[in-house]
Symmetry: C2
Subunit: 353 residues, 2 copies
Amino acid sequence: MPEPYVILGHEPLREFAQRMLEGAGVDAEKASLVARSLVEANLRGVDSHGVQLLNFYIEHMRMDCVDLKAAGHVVSESGASMVYSGDNGIGQVVSDVCCDHAIRLANKHGVSLVTVRESNHFGAAAFWARKIARANLIGIVMCNATPLVPPWQGKEPRFGTNPICMALPGAPERSWLLDMATTTVAMGKIFKAHFSGEPSIPHGWAYDSDGVPTTDTGKAVKGMPMPLGGYKGSGLAFMIEILVAVLSGGAMSTQIGGIRIRTQPMRCGQAFLGIEVARYTPVEEFNQRMEWLVSQVKTTPPAPGYDEVLVAGEPEWRHAEYRGRHGIPLSQGVWQELVKTAATVGVAPPPAA
Amino acid sequence: MPEPYVILGHEPLREFAQRMLEGAGVDAEKASLVARSLVEANLRGVDSHGVQLLNFYIEHMRMDCVDLKAAGHVVSESGASMVYSGDNGIGQVVSDVCCDHAIRLANKHGVSLVTVRESNHFGAAAFWARKIARANLIGIVMCNATPLVPPWQGKEPRFGTNPICMALPGAPERSWLLDMATTTVAMGKIFKAHFSGEPSIPHGWAYDSDGVPTTDTGKAVKGMPMPLGGYKGSGLAFMIEILVAVLSGGAMSTQIGGIRIRTQPMRCGQAFLGIEVARYTPVEEFNQRMEWLVSQVKTTPPAPGYDEVLVAGEPEWRHAEYRGRHGIPLSQGVWQELVKTAATVGVAPPPAA
């Protein structure tokens, strides 16, 4: 029986990802950026946004649904406001440019909002919010996505998992980082319960295919993820759709393609908000105040059944520390898919640990 | 047996609220602003943020915990960024000035963020987001509040219900308006189940006093409200605390007083974000796109058990239409409390319908 996991160091995994992308026709610099964004997600334990996306990315590229050369263009810039068109370029390439614009405009004005249309999947939002944060800004990043989630009280998908992410400057980045979909859990968590043979999932995770809330894992995998906490999750997803797509003039709701609709360009949108902390308070003071607030939360007596209180980003930081030392475990299923995809672009996998 | 509700037109109710505030020593203009903010919440069906707050407001004022004359001052202004101190003035008075600053700075730069410390309860966030929206901006408003909510996995309160609100310009305001606490439900909804004799509440609403999730209404009323959807609600509350309080240098977490801690100034904070839509897209186009998106959502086939799909703000708009015509129903309990509070400041109630 094979080991359940294949373990690779993050460096060999990044190189493999880069070679696969280059094999698909992506130039070296762009391939390096995409590979780094994916492997960082794996390092942080966010495997849903790690190298397994390459199977989708490369299939999508091979179907000519992504313009491998495009980096997008500025549609309009006015004060701290920008509309950018990704021109169907690679999502990470477009986002990298847009983060730079958000940083430049926030440095000039204190606050900035860049909204982006006609883009593609950009990996995990945290990669971009952290980039903005490294420029001593608060970075807030949002995107819309493939419609998978019904609005509250509806039974057909209208929104993506529309995540929101916020990263902070200066402080050791482990102090706090929020990156959350506006569904109760990602569809991946429901699939994981299914593949692990768990017969039931908690209340509030999913609908069956008729839009009825269910705790039956079998029904949930054929169903849809539930908006976070009900109508509020729907409201947040809608809020993000407005900032990303209504404002940018991009594709909205059912106009978005994506991971489960592979025969057309994705056309998703993103928004990058920058806030220059030093305009409000010195970054060192900001960090001291954050440290106090984090410790207020972490010293809360744990509720029954828990050993400690965690803050947003802490589980991912622990993963990064562990996986940075011990390597990144990929399930056999994900690994075999990757090797298969690599073969389609003439790339051999590295030896796994 | 008395009627369960006292019904007043919104105009007489507003006048009554204003007279009560003037009786407590608030000058006419400020009293008018506070009264309008509270009665607008009642009109929209958000009774938790309506005139019943006068019982707390006036007790707090009579204990000298609020500076009735203060309107706050600008601590710093730099580009589109402002830190404002409310100087312990009335929350609505402070917020009114801060909305004007947010509008002015967004008009100048396209985007603006005003963060406020040493303020007081400002009523419903929607009143302020709508004010910003009437200036053709997207208005996003947040605040921190009395610590009532434990962080995820903790069993003692560290955050308030920390709401986020977003209102849109131009469009008929009924099209979409989000105003949500970052708990699954407000504590008031748990009390309502209790007073209505309902033995159980849904999963995910509340903890008992030991921090164990409960569906027992009796245990929940002695317990704490649960963060929206678990750790994500805690993450959102933390995000808001950062933008409102870490950034402004104001009171954070357990430093906040408030409705349940009446012997000290509240010291809460607020944040007002403005986005000038016309910098991105003409307002008419924005409205057309919103109309399409709202109709996409509203034409989703309803899930079993529902007749229609609603968007954020729609229930409140329907309340406003109905209550504008038929008057505002106040429960006997709320009405008697109000009459008692009015007597302490020498004000007689209007005749109820």
